[in-house]
Amino acid sequence: MNIEHHLDAATLVAYAAGTLDEAFNVVVASHLDWCPACAEEARRAALLGGELIGKLAATPVSDECRSRTLGMLDTATLHRFPKAPSSGGELPEALEYLLKGKSLAELSWKRKAPGLALYDLPLSEASSGKLFLMRIAPGTAMPEHGHGGEEITLILSGAYNDRFGRYARGDVADLDESIEHQPIVEKDSACICLVATEAPTRFKSWPARLLQPLIGI
């Protein structure tokens, strides 16, 4: 994989601090799974946190907590979550887990407009974001659009071009909310992306915004 477009350093710091919303966390973890360069940057960002935390003062822990913990050692076992059946590298691990082993072709995609299908991914109630897969048909030109909120996109297959360059498998578009762009999908295959956005309330209905020029809603 030849990755050209990487994560914003601010995103990596937030990821290392564990403060990203769940939807964004999945997209970032997915990119890191494929991008050794960003994985190294995320590791380094975590060092900053370690150093800061090392300076924290100590709060005494009760003897009861200490003896309870030591008393649990004999029965403590490592509960690992079962690994989802592997897609053989087609998908990053964090996404594979959410799809419970299904391949992209097996999903029941919802057709939203000619050439555009979406598939929503489940998140916990605590998440204020939205996570979905987007499939855009070969050769489709998306209307020029801004995002009106935070958004990170990871390309899983196919490729598109916009004024920032070519985005193909493994690339991320970690764009500022003020940025407008007009992606055009390459002709030879559909482009499938994993997208995290802010909640629709702040985000004013993402599909509607994007589809407005296409289907006139």
Binding site: A9, G49, A58, T59, L78
Partner: protein, 193 residues
């Protein structure tokens, strides 16, 4: 014994802590574990309380974190970061999981450990010591307004948008301060003094 709080030399502390983690991983050494508990649990507790947890909940999470240290000791990899960073990643992820339903994969499964690795070679340990020094140096050079953002992120666990609201700054400013702070670190790691 490890120094209990604000150790004068984090590097020495880390090497000592690495040996304790190895003893736990290899021999299920309870004494080594008790030393790790005494060295790290009090700071883990501070970290959890800073986020507004009650003392009872904080001790629950301290217990859960340290039990994870016991069961996952074999997965700790010194090449990835200090013992302290590892333990606090576990604590942070457990704290995040507490507020989530079961529907998604717990964060603690995603990032806090990787498959077991071989014991690091001497060279790697040396490189890590240099790295720890570079991180400390980078942190000492970060100006207060960037440091504030880092503290709110790593210690208070506030998302970028929340930091922006609290400091009454545009989101873009919060992000650019994070980028600048990270830039200090990168510079110090790439040009070790």
């Amino acid at each position: 014994m490890l120094p209990k709080d604000n150790p004068a030399d984090p590097k020495t502390e880390d090497l000592a802590a690495q040996r304790l983690v190895q003893r736990v991983a290899r021999n299920l050494d309870r004494e080594a574990f008790a030393e790790l508990f005494d060295a790290f649990a009090p700071r883990v507790k501070t970290f959890i309380i800073r986020k507004g947890a009650s003392p009872d909940l904080a001790e629950d999470l301290v217990q859960e974190t340290m039990i994870n240290v016991w069961t996952k000791a074999g997965y700790y990899d010194p090449a990835k970061g200090s013992v302290l960073t590892w333990i606090f990643t576990i604590a942070r992820n457990l704290r995040i999981d507490r507020i989530r339903r079961e529907s998604s994969r717990p964060v603690s499964e995603l990032g806090d450990f990787d498959p077991p690795s071989e014991a690091p070679a001497g060279e790697e340990i040396l490189a890590r010591k240099d790295e720890a020094r570079s991180v400390a140096r980078a942190l000492s050079k970060i100006p207060p307004e960037q440091m504030e953002i880092l503290t709110l992120s790593f210690i208070e666990d506030l998302p970028q948008a929340e930091i922006a609201r609290r400091l009454n700054l545009p989101l873009g400013t919060v992000k650019s301060r994070m980028r600048l702070a990270y830039g200090h670190l990168r510079k110090n790691l790439e040009q070790p003094a």
